[in-house]
Amino acid sequence: MNKSIITLISLGLTFISCFVYAVEESYPFDDVQQQKIFGELVEELRCPKCQNQNIADSNAMVAIDLKNKTYELVKQGQSKDQVIDFMVQRYGQFVHYDPPINMVTIWLWLVPIAIALILVVFVLKKGRREKLGSEVDANSLDQAQAIIDKLESKGKS
C-alpha cells in the first residue's frame, strides 16, 4: 500500500514527454485565455479520492487523470462550463467546489440575507421609535455602578 503511494507520488508528472531535456511548462498553452480557464478549473475541481483537496494540489492518480483530461478539453477549445459539465456528469456534483443552486443550496444565500434583513429592520424600528429620553447620562450610570459595587464589597469585607 505504502509503496504504491510512493510510486504514485514520485511518478505523478511523468506523462510529460520523456527524454526531452528542456525547461518545459507542465501544461503549456498558446492561448492566454485558455491558460486562465485551466488555472481556474484545476482550483475549482475537487479530487474525488482525497480528503479535501482540489486537483491542482493533489498528486493522487485520479487527480492527475482529471488534470490531464481538463487540459485536453481546454486545449480542444471547450469553455469552462463545458469542462465542468463533463466532469460533473462522470463524478457527480461532488467534483465541483461551487454547488449547483437547488432547493437546498439556495438557502446558502437566502438564510444569511434574511437574518441580516430581520436584524437590520429590528434595530431600525427600535432606533426610530425611541425618542431621546431625559435619562441620566450613561457614563455617570457606570460610575454609579462602580460605586455600588464598591459599597457592596465594602459591606461584606
Partner: protein, 196 residues
C-alpha cells in the same frame, strides 16, 4: 413565555443537532457514483493479454455482468479475488477492467509484458474470476465511469445500464445486500462466508 423570538436560537441549534447526529453514522467519503442508472459508456479497448483482440460495449451486453476495476498493484483487489472467483463458479459473468498504475503506463510496451506476467501469476494464485480483462491503459474508460481508484465494481443489466456500484472490495455481505437482490436469478446468494 411572551417573547417567541428568543426561542429561535435553541430551535435552530436543535435542528442542526439532528443532522449532526445523522451525520455521525454516515461515511462522508462514501459518495454515490454519478453513473448509476445510466447506460455504460461506449469504449474501444484491447484485451489485457492480447492487444489485437478489441472489445466494445457490445461485448458486455446480453446478460447481467459485474465489471470489476482492478490492478495487481492494489492490495484490496487481492482480497476480493477469491470471493469473486466463487461468484464466477456460481455463474456470475465478471469482466475485469485493468486499471493501470500511472507508474507502469509510462514505460510502454515492455511493461505491458511485465503486467501480463504479474496478472497471470496472481490469478493463478488467488483464482481467476474474469471472463476477460479489458486493458484500460490510459484510464479513459475508468474516467468515464467516474472511477476514483481500485477496486471498484459496477453491475450492469443485460441492456448495459449500470444498476449497482461499489467502491472498495466486494465481500460476501456486500454482495448479499447490494448486488445479489438485483440479479434476475439471485446468483451467489448461497455462498458461504468461509473466505473471511
Amino acid at each position: 413565555m411572551k417573547n417567541y423570538k428568543l426561542l429561535i436560537p435553541i430551535v435552530a441549534f436543535l435542528l442542526v443537532s439532528i443532522f449532526l447526529y445523522k451525520g455521525l453514522y454516515s461515511d462522508p467519503t462514501n459518495i454515490e457514483n454519478a453513473n448509476l442508472a445510466k447506460p455504460f459508456p461506449e469504449f474501444q479497448l484491447a484485451d489485457l493479454m492480447d492487444e489485437n483482440r478489441l472489445y466494445s460495449k457490445a461485448d458486455l451486453l446480453g446478460e447481467y455482468t459485474l465489471i470489476n476495476v482492478w490492478g495487481t498493484w492494489c492490495v484490496t483487489c487481492r482480497v476480493e479475488l477469491p470471493f469473486m472467483t466463487q461468484l464466477r463458479q456460481q455463474g456470475v459473468k465478471i469482466v475485469g477492467v485493468y486499471y493501470d498504475n500511472a507508474a507502469e503506463a509510462a514505460f510502454g510496451e515492455l511493461d505491458v509484458r511485465q503486467t501480463r506476467r504479474e496478472v497471470t501469476e496472481m490469478l493463478a494464485q488467488l483464482g481467476n474470476p474474469f471472463q476477460f480483462n479489458i486493458y484500460d491503459e490510459k484510464r479513459d474508460l475508468s474516467l468515464d465511469l467516474g472511477v476514483t481508484g481500485a477496486p471498484e465494481s459496477f453491475l450492469i443489466d443485460d441492456k448495459g445500464t449500470i444498476i449497482a456500484h461499489r467502491r472498495g472490495a466486494i465481500d460476501h455481505r456486500v454482495w448479499q445486500n447490494e448486488f445479489a437482490p438485483l440479479l434476475p436469478n439471485n446468483h451467489g446468494s448461497n455462498l458461504s462466508e468461509q473466505q473471511k
